[in-house]
Symmetry: C2
Subunit: 423 residues, 2 copies
């Protein structure tokens, strides 16, 4: 238990301690610095470091002085673990250092209500995978109704594509409905218009810790050491633009209008109690993608999609679980670097949309509305019908794992869609 009090269902427990970057609402974004969330509070890591509370980081200091966590990410697991141990001690109810020092507490502890989050890292490169078998199958059926839903490579390769790093934004940033080229299946030529099939994608993404040199792949046995932690991710998708553009070089404008991540990075240490086996892989992966069978290389994380409109309050519409992913983060990372591609601290690797096997476990509206053919209804007075996202609609992704008497949660990954600018 911590001297910062919170309830059992609080997302930011002492067992969690997710990392983010914040500034007080009364401060300018140039004053942002790293922090850790606990209960209804955030702990200022810059102040703790300056107060000499992380002596083991000394040779790397300052680690927490910038408005991003890239340097901390580069330090690797042993120092992450030591930092976590120190934070758990400092925040434990029987530890007086912070608890009984009102001056230090005043400088280092703030209510979350009074802070603004920025992106937790400078994202050098962002990659998005496509690792849910259920999602790839659903989407294949919709995009290529006359072909086998899974391309022949899907069961062999953690298929992914390079995404757009500049348009990754933090939860709360509004998303503007894009213009683009689309072509109706029956039309003879494309049209330039506002996106009419705007969608979300329920994903998680991990931040890379230490990177690798160009030309030197990361091996499976070391893969986990390169994973710092996870966030929720909404990969906003313009389905009509994507459908017309994606052959043969993949999604481009259909995906670069904005990608929202949750502000708090939950570390692998915090997720340790929720390790589970990943789905059985058949055919067996090629040698470089092979994980030891005893390893539990994925995590049981409950995921939820909440949606609201200008009239209707935000409500839960879908749920899923991170453990459904066919390809693990370790396999994604190893595959990404097998050509020698260099990863850098702060790179972001998205899971791909996470759909599940049963009814209601879809990770996107194109799946839920069966390609826009089966509208669903949002509850409440005057509940609206939807196939895709309309202007003013809000999407909120949530994620949490339930421990024995505590919760490890991700906070909200939220965004509201604004109407297009006129062209």
């Amino acid at each position: 238990m911590s001297w910062i009090k919170y309830s059992q269902d609080c997302q930011f427990s002492l067992q969690n301690l997710p990392y983010g970057v914040f500034h007080l609402k009364t401060e300018s974004p140039t004053q942002a610095r790293p922090g850790v969330a606990i209960g209804d509070s955030v702990i200022d890591l810059k102040v703790l470091e300056q107060s000499g509370l992380f002596p083991f980081l000394k040779e790397h200091s300052p680690v927490f002085s910038k408005a991003h966590l890239n340097k901390f990410m580069s330090l690797g697991r042993p120092l992450w673990q030591q930092t976590r141990k120190t934070l758990i001690r400092l925040l434990s109810e029987d530890e007086p250092t912070l608890r009984d020092d009102p001056e230090l507490r005043g400088k280092a502890v703030f209510k979350l209500d009074f802070v603004e989050n920025l992106l937790p890292a400078k994202i050098g490169d962002y990659t998005d995978f496509y690792s849910s078998k259920e999602h790839a199958t659903n989407l294949g059926k919709l995009f290529r109704p006359n072909d086998a839903p899974l391309k022949p490579n899907w069961l062999w390769i953690p298929v992914g594509y390079h995404g757009r790093a500049s348009s990754v934004v933090v939860s709360g940033t509004p998303i503007r409905r894009p213009w683009g080229q689309t072509k109706a299946p029956t039309a003879t030529q494309p049209t330039f218009k506002k996106c009419a099939r705007l969608d979300f994608e329920l994903e998680m993404a991990f931040f890379v810790g230490p990177g690798n040199e160009l030309g030197v792949p990361i091996k499976m046995e070391n893969a986990e050491d390169h994973i710092f932690g996870l966030v929720l991710m909404n990969d906003w998708s313009a389905r009509d633009i994507q459908a017309w553009e994606y052959e043969p070089l993949g999604p481009f404008n259909g995906k670069n209008l904005g990608t929202t991540i949750s502000p708090w990075i939950v570390t692998l240490e915090a997720l340790e109690p929720f390790r589970v086996h990943s789905p059985q892989q058949e055919p067996a992966p090629l040698v470089y993608l092979k994980d030891a069978p005893e390893n539990k290389s994925t995590y049981d994380i409950n995921l939820e999609v909440w949606m609201g409109t200008k009239q209707t309050p935000v409500q839960k519409i879908l749920h899923s679980n991170f453990k459904y992913m066919y390809w693990t983060m370790k396999q994604q990372l190893v595959h990404h670097t097998i050509t020698g591609c260099n990863l850098r601290p702060g790179d972001l690797l998205g899971s791909g949309t996470i759909s599940g096997p049963s009814e209601g476990e879809f990770g996107s509206l194109i799946e839920f509305s069966v390609g826009g053919k089966r509208p669903f209804k949002l509850g409440g007075e005057g509940g609206s019908e939807r196939c895709f996202i309309e202007d003013g609609d809000s999407l909120v992704l949530k994620g949490f794992s339930l421990g024995d008497g505590f919760t490890v949660g991700f906070g909200d990954c939220a965004g509201q869609v604004l109407p297009s600018h006129e062209f």
Copy 2:
């Protein structure tokens, strides 16, 4: 004429003045700073700025103190033009400021032989287009022999994909032959092996100047103001890996093993005398991609590919021209941002492989060797046969425009292929 003497075929004329980032070979890379190349020399812009020779940059200073040109790129065309005008004056033969000040010259002028180039910018995002009709047609025939070579969207969209920024390297960096998954057309399952069809791609790429806010597209009439200048680019490609992985999300591991650019950025100002009309576009582009017909929106730049092996000296094997590109840089940039995708100063946008209409004007070996079926021979004693790149081979791309009594050249974009590491 300049007081720095050079011959008429020198790539770095007073009319050129390309920007790069360099350090002396005797210095550490941490001391790198921006410079301009002229004749056999480089002019240190950090020293010129510190000496007060760019008074008009004062409110932004320091502009040239870092090991990248991103800040200068962000300033926009009027300040780029003023800087160029000042450099032309300082380097003109009748201007004594530098010419007659041996102390300043000693601090600010170095022989290119004694310097090392780094990447000229911090590349936030790298995008690669596919804008040569000849190349897209050739590749379509090879990758999809039973389909129409151009996908239906090609004549409507400057097709592109998000590339890997971390693996963009400067000319001279060795490239390691990658491992990866490939599947022979006749095989029932893929194999994990060393790439057997390693290729180059002859491209040019432009650096973005001022960027745009997320959600706010760049319009055609302003597009040119966002283009800082061009480099040569070799988009190394593992054809066997690419062929197996690319459906449906596009090239990934086939392209992230390394992308080489030439170190000196030739500005649009320097290319101004070489403006030409781009190819007639039929069908006419949609409204947002429409350029005024009187605009000459592309450039006449001669391109050459030189190749050598461990036994055979580097020799010219192919040639092409930037003016063949069907889609212009302005159209690529406008299309990229039409969804609101934000570009940032220092982003790199590649042209795609530039093949031409006639024999010998191919931009890749997969085209030149007809998919690996027609080996070509390198001249010289014991001249080797090649379909793709072998270990130890070197590729050098060259580019230049011939003015009236002067040359505007790009310098070399060179790289040698090293054998794979053992797995």
